[in-house]
């Protein structure tokens, strides 16, 4: 009979009725998992640089364990070699010695404390490892495509066998620390995937050659880890279902399915189905990829193996995985980024509180940070990786300290600040001259390539505001008189930016329009369009118009377009600009606007004419409006979001949250 670690009864919860397939038990190996939910192992760079687990990581994992409501919660993958060749992240946990067991036990205990199943992942980063040493190890010495990765040397046959042993030893330590499931990572460019791929494995010995030879290291690892785990501890593996490396002669999808079958034969109790490598030239998880896009790969995997198949990858809402499980195309719904953005996401699904979910906007800032040796940060969730820090938790204010707070602007900064201050007990009033909440996100979300998902942020904030008792005054412009009439204790200016004026000749012409009006469809736009400003708002409007068939040119002061977009997403925009024929003059400004052309001036003084019927202004500045009025009345003042410094939605949310805590 299969082992059940914790009893869970979901029958009385609304989410179990709406999504019945997600809250059905499943057996993996000899273990019964009460539901179909998994927080997948995700690096967070929160541990110390010697591989010891920190309080920050324990708190981070505990909150995700609470979120999976009895399901699987995996800690980040551990590296297993003292030489640190397998270490891919500076804050990655280590497991090459017994001295790490105590810290690892804290993670297992934290997960068990939430009555969830504790997962332990073994991850030698191989080709993308050696973060702190000069050279990494790999099956063959294939040069790196990306310069950020270290050179590799070819492992000897003995070193491969040693690596297999390290996996087994680390599994023993994981079990000793109290983990219930062991998972082997073989994806995205990590060591096992390097052995599996024809791109990176050129060996001619027993660990190379055809697909079966390339799988030999994986087979030995699975078998050795299974041996130490015994019958009661399931062993799973994460494997690419499609490497997306056909441009460099990687495995075919058929070969990838062969790896699945061989892993099953070797004794794997489940497979986590992934796709793409860090080196792939195709996008996989960014916002421009539709939700559920990759489910066909899970289905294909199910057709090739009998063991349970798990998958994350653009499955941010419960409907798709619930259906896929019902259809027999998937067994377990994995989450990484969606639970970075909201650790309690599945719990809220279960409790019927879906409108309280803070959805990931698939910007990949989290990845960009990890690849640059920075601790995990979430674009949309200010508390991410601060779970251990009391100062990030909203605390109720004393009765005497309660304030009457006026927030001017119902954009992401104002709304975030409003619900946090409201939750703490302040009386919060949000004013906006518009009838609709969302601020400039209303317009920004009309840009193509998935930007409609940005609206999930104000939707969440609005819901939270309503729960916190925030009062809204929409269609009400805040004036000096209104402030003097209301005389609140605190004013938060979240009014958004002001749009810059073109200083050159012709800046006041009728064909100069504002980016918000264009995005809203209220401004007339000609066929030859100049977008002034090469940050994200400029890129968004440029792509929208280019897709409508306009000839679009961006002129901006930043040295490169998309300067404010994180590198893990920026490359997508650069490709789309090129595909849509958008020309960008960076490090330039508009000197003059004439009848049918503008004069672009480069940073070093060259001048060139560009054909143009309409100029769209997307350059922004801080908004000082009302600041003096508030200060003159001696009212406590905070300026947040783009009103303070024009940046992005993330800065607005983070500003709002922090000030919400401070008031």
């Amino acid at each position: 009979m299969a082992k059940l670690l914790f009893e869970w009864d979901y029958s009385s919860y609304p989410g179990a009725k709406t999504y019945p397939n997600l809250f059905q038990p499943i057996q993996i190996g000899n273990l019964t998992v009460p539901n179909r939910i998994k927080y997948a192992a995700t690096e967070d760079n929160l541990n110390d640089h010697n591989g010891f687990v920190t309080d920050a990581d324990v708190a981070y994992i505990r909150s995700r364990a609470e979120g999976v409501v009895g399901g699987l919660c995996f800690m980040q993958g551990v590296y297993m070699d003292e030489a640190q060749k397998g270490q891919g992240y500076v804050g990655q946990a280590a497991c090459w010695d017994d001295k790490y067991v105590e810290g690892l036990r804290r993670l297992a205990d934290a997960i068990h404390g939430e009555r969830a199943i504790a997962g332990f992942q073994l991850m030698d980063c191989g080709r993308v490892g050696a973060v702190d040493v000069d050279r990494g190890h790999a099956p063959s010495t294939v040069p790196q495509r990306l310069r950020i990765f270290k050179p590799m040397y070819e492992m000897t046959n003995e070193e491969v066998k040693e690596m297999v042993r390290q996996h087994a030893d680390a599994a023993i330590r994981g079990i000793e620390a109290g983990f219930d499931v062991i998972e082997i990572s073989g994806i995205v460019g990590y060591l096992i995937s390097n052995f599996l791929s024809s791109y990176t494995n050129r060996r001619t010995d027993e660990y190379g050659g055809d697909i079966r030879g390339r799988c030999q290291a994986m087979v030995e690892i699975i078998q050795e880890v299974k041996k130490v785990c015994g019958a009661d501890i399931p062993v799973g593996i994460r494997l690419c279902s499609d490497e997306l490396l056909n441009d460099v002669k990687g495995n075919t999808p058929e070969e990838s399915m062969e790896t699945y079958k061989i892993a099953e034969e070797a004794g794997a109790d489940y497979i986590s189905c992934t796709l793409g490598w860090q080196e792939s030239i195709y996008p996989v998880i960014s916002r421009d990829i539709p939700q559920g896009n990759w489910l066909y790969l899970a289905k294909r995997a199910k057709e090739h193996v009998k063991i349970p198949i798990q998958m994350a990858y653009r499955l941010f809402t419960p409907d798709r995985p619930n259906k896929a499980i019902g259809d027999g195309d998937l067994d377990i719904w994995e989450m990484c980024r969606s639970m970075i953005a909201d650790p309690l996401m599945p719990k809220k699904v279960l409790e019927g509180r879906e409108d309280e979910i803070r959805h990931c906007v698939a910007c990949n800032l989290c990845l960009a940070r990890l690849f640059r040796d920075a601790p995990m940060t979430c674009y949309i969730n200010p508390t991410c990786a601060h779970e251990h820090d009391e100062s990030f938790t909203p605390k109720p204010v004393e009765e005497d300290d309660k304030k009457d707070v006026m927030i001017v602007g119902a954009g992401p900064a104002g709304l975030e600040c409003a619900y946090v201050a409201g939750m703490r007990g302040h009386e919060v009033h949000v004013y906006d001259k518009r009838e609709e909440m969302g601020g400039t996100v209303l317009e920004a979300s009309r840009a193509p390539y998935g930007d409609e998902e940005l609206m999930t942020c104000p939707h969440y904030q609005k819901e939270m505001c309503e729960k916190a008792g925030v009062e809204f005054h929409l269609g009400a412009e805040v004036t000096e008189e209104l402030i003097q009439d209301e005389m609140p204790d605190t004013v938060v200016l979240a009014t958004g930016p002001v749009y810059s004026k073109i200083q050159g000749k012709g800046g006041d012409r009728k064909n100069v329009v504002n980016v918000l009006d264009v995005m809203a469809g209220t401004a007339e736009v000609g066929e030859n369009v100049i977008v002034w400003g090469n940050r994200k708002p400029g890129i968004g409007v440029a792509l929208k118009l280019a897709k409508e068939g306009k000839k679009v040119t961006i002129v901006g002061r930043e040295k490169s377009a998309g300067f404010d977009v994180n590198p893990s997403f920026k490359w997508r925009y650069m490709i789309y600009l090129k595909q849509n024929g958008v020309m960008a003059y960076n490090d330039c400004d508009i000197e003059e606007i004439n009848d049918n052309e503008i004069i672009v001036k480069t940073y070093d003084g060259y001048r060139l004419p560009v054909k143009c019927d309409t100029v769209i202004v997307s350059e922004r500045e801080a908004n000082d409006g009302l600041k003096n009025v508030v200060q003159a009345e001696g009212i406590e003042l905070f300026v947040i979001g783009d009103a303070l410094v024009p940046r992005n939605m993330s800065s607005a949310v983070h500003d709002g949250y922090r000030i919400g805590l401070r008031i």
Partner: protein, 175 residues
């Protein structure tokens, strides 16, 4: 004020040529430093060839993200050849890549190369200029070959510094 296109273009043109000139000056100044530091026992040709290897290795790495096997073997080789010819064009040369008569063979032709003229100013032997270019191209191929698991070779058939009127390189696949 209307743009005087002729004036703007000629200003840009001058700037480009100045920048191109700096490439050679910088390289040959550093060559002099390297020879001085290496001491009287060293051979300038060895230093020049080692520099070509280091540059070739680096250029090879920078090509890896841009080359794409999906274009097929011929398309891949043509893409690589155009990148090599493009290096010359960036430096102020005239160069092109053309398919050879045999399959898997491409010729890279350069009919104007600014390096020999610059080398003369710094007293560099012409044979060193020719051999450095050959070594540069050969080293570029090293990482490309390993990365894409192929075996491309390149050979220099003619060289401007040898008085042969043009550079002619043959890129081919060795079976």
């Amino acid at each position: 004020m209307p743009v005087n296109a002729e004036k703007e273009i000629s200003k840009l043109w001058r700037s480009l040529h100045r920048a191109q000139g700096e490439i050679f000056k910088t390289y040959y100044r550093w060559r002099e430093v390297a020879i001085e530091l290496a001491g009287p026992e060293s051979k300038p040709l060895d230093i020049g060839l080692r520099a070509a290897e280091m540059m070739g290795k680096d250029i090879g790495k920078s090509l890896l993200p841009r080359l794409n096997w999906l274009k097929g073997e011929e398309g891949f080789m043509m893409g690589l050849s155009r990148s090599l010819a493009g290096m010359w064009v960036t430096e102020g040369g005239i160069a092109s890549a053309e398919k050879g008569e045999n399959p898997g063979e491409i010729f890279i032709k350069c009919t104007r190369c600014p390096w020999p003229t610059a080398a003369k100013e710094y007293g560099v032997p012409m044979e060193e200029v020719a051999l450095s270019r050959e070594r540069l191209f050969q080293t570029i191929l090293e990482d490309v070959n390993v990365f894409f698991n192929i075996n491309l070779k390149i050979e220099m058939l003619k060289a401007i510094p040898r008085g042969e009127g043009m550079y002619l390189f043959r890129l081919y696949k060795e079976n």
